[in-house]
Subunit: 300 residues, 2 copies
C-alpha cells in the first residue's frame, strides 16, 4: 500500500527549522521523504513523502509537532496565502489503496492533530464534510489574520478541534485528493488567442473536461504559446484524451502541436494508460509492468 502526502508548512526562510522538519519525517519507519523544497518569498516549504497509512500518519504528526513548536504565524509574512503553521496536508492514493481509505486517514489524522495540539482542522477536497468547504481557496480566504473573526460564524465551525484559532499555529486544512499532474502543451504558433480559446474549450470551469484546469499563456522567449494545465484526476480525465482534444481544437485554427511536457512527478499509471490507448492494448494489467510486479513482490 502506497499513500503520498504533501504537507505545506509556513516556513521557508530558516533552513535549520526546515532541515529539522525533514529529519523528523525521515526518522519515521515505513516512510520515505522523496523531496522537499522551500520558497523564501512565499516563506513556505513543501514536503513530499510516501509510505503506508500508519507510516504517513506518524510522519505527519511528527511534522505537526515540529512546526507547532517552531512557527509563530503572528510574526510570519510571505507572498503565499496561509491559515496555519502546517497549512495544508493532502493524502493521495498511489497504489493498492482506495480514495476512501485516504479520506478515512485524513479524518483520523485531523482528529489526532486537534486532540494533541489543540489546533482546529478543516477537511477539504474528497474528505470535505460540506460542499462549501471542499475548495482549499474558499477555506483559506481571509488567511490567518482573518481567521479568528471567520471562525465566529456558524459556517466556519471546524470539523475537528477548538472553535477558535491556535494562538501561534492558526488552523490546518487536511484532506484527500487524486495526484495532480502539471501538463503543458506547446503550440506551433505565437497566437495567444488560439491558446486561450483552446484552454477555455477544455477546462471544467467553462464547459470542458471535469478534471482539467487550463489557461493560455505566451512563452515570450520562444515566440510560441502554451496551453498550461493541471489535471486533477488522471483516471477520469486521462492525459491522452486531453492531448487529442487540444490537437483537434488547434487544427481548427490551422495550428499544430509542437510538443507537450509534464512538469514534476507523474504516476506511472498515467503514462501506461496513454500507451494502452494508442497501442489499442486489450486486457493489459498493471501487474504486467515488470517494475510493478517487483514492487508488489517486495511488499510481501
Amino acid at each position: 500500500m502506497l499513500i503520498e502526502s504533501i504537507p505545506n508548512v509556513s516556513e521557508g526562510r530558516r533552513p535549520e527549522i526546515i532541515a529539522a522538519t525533514a529529519a523528523a519525517i525521515g526518522a519515521v519507519p515505513g516512510v520515505r521523504l522523496l523531496d522537499y523544497s522551500s520558497d523564501p518569498s512565499h516563506n513556505r516549504s513543501v514536503f513530499t513523502l510516501v509510505g503506508d497509512a500508519d507510516g504517513v500518519e506518524r510522519a505527519v504528526l511528527a511534522l505537526f509537532e515540529r512546526a507547532v513548536a517552531d512557527i509563530d504565524l503572528r510574526v510570519h509574512s510571505g507572498e503565499h496565502p496561509r491559515l496555519g503553521a502546517v497549512d495544508v496536508v493532502p493524502f493521495v492514493p498511489i497504489e493498492g489503496v482506495t480514495m476512501d481509505a485516504c479520506v478515512a486517514l485524513a479524518k483520523k489524522v485531523a482528529a489526532e492533530v486537534a486532540a494533541r495540539f489543540s489546533i482546529p482542522v478543516y477537511l477539504y477536497e474528497e474528505a470535505s464534510s460540506n460542499p462549501a468547504r471542499k475548495n482549499l481557496e474558499d477555506i483559506r480566504r481571509g488567511e490567518f489574520e482573518g481567521l479568528a473573526a471567520k471562525m465566529t460564524t456558524p459556517e466556519w465551525v471546524p470539523d475537528f478541534g477548538p472553535s477558535a484559532p491556535h494562538t501561534s499555529g492558526g488552523a490546518a486544512v487536511i484532506g484527500a485528493r487524486m495526484p495532480l499532474i502539471a501538463y503543458n502543451i506547446n503550440l506551433a504558433t505565437d497566437r495567444l488567442d488560439v491558446a486561450k480559446k483552446i484552454a477555455a474549450a477544455i477546462r471544467h470551469s467553462s464547459g470542458g473536461y471535469r478534471f482539467v484546469k487550463a489557461m493560455g499563456v505566451k512563452l515570450e522567449q520562444r515566440g510560441i504559446v502554451q496551453v498550461s494545465m493541471n489535471l486533477t484526476n488522471f483516471e477520469k480525465t486521462p492525459i491522452f484524451r486531453v492531448f487529442e482534444t487540444v490537437k483537434r481544437e488547434a487544427a481548427r485554427y490551422g495550428v499544430a502541436i509542437l510538443e507537450s511536457e509534464i512538469v514534476g512527478l507523474v504516476p506511472s499509471a498515467a503514462l501506461t494508460s496513454a500507451a494502452e490507448f494508442y497501442l489499442q492494448l486489450e486486457g493489459f494489467k498493471s501487474g504486467q509492468v515488470l517494475e510493478n510486479k517487483l514492487r508488489l513482490t517486495t511488499d510481501d
Copy 2:
C-alpha cells in the same frame, strides 16, 4: 541496480525438486524470485529472478548446485530441446545497469560454474565470443545426446570449463540479452495472407526492423488473424514504431487493427516511450515517474 535473470532448468515433472530449487533462490539475500513455472511435457522449469549483480550471481550458483545434484540428463526426456541440467541462463539489464555490466556478469558466472561444477559453458547473445555461437538454437543443435561428439570439433570448444560434457549435467549456455517483449497485434479480418504479408514486412529476417521476430497466425475461434511478435530490443526497435508500421501496412489491404496485446511482463520504459511518442513529450526523464523516483530513493 536491477538485473533480471531467467534460468531454464531441465526438470518440469518432480515438484519437490522444483520447489527446492525455488527455495534455494529465495534464500539468497538481495534477490527476489518474481515467478517460476514448470511445463511437464517440456520437462522444463523457468525461474524469473531480479537483484543486484552480487545477488543474482549467488542465486544462479545456488540454482546450479541444486540442479547438478538433482538432474541427470541421461534419463531426462521432454519435448523442449536442451543441452544441460541448467540449460540456459540469460542476464538482462533492467535499471541502472549497462549491457556491458551484464556481459561481464555472464562471463564471471560462466567461469565460476565451470570451476565449481566442472561444467562446460558456452557464452551466447551479447556475451558471445564468436558470431557463429551467438544464437541459442545454433549452440543447442544436437542437444545433450549429440554433445559429446559435437565437442570434439574445434568450433565447439567451450568458452569455459572442460572440453567434454559433464556426465549427468551436460553443458550450460550463459549470456546477456535485452528484455524480450511478447507482443501481438490482432487484425479485424480473417485473411491469413494479410497477417503473413505484414509479418514478413516487419521482421528482421525478411528485411524489416532489426529487433523484430514475427509470424502471421490464425485465431480460429475468434475468426481473426494475428501478427505474433517477439521484440528483442525495445530501446532500438520500440513498440510504437512496430504498431504504427503494422497499422500502415494493414491499411494497404483495407484492414484495421482490432487490438494489440502484451503477453507476460514488460519493462515500464517500453510503455513510457510509447506515451512519450504519442503525446509528443519533450524533455521527459524517467525520474519523473513517481514509482521510479520511489524505487531509486529506496535504493539509497
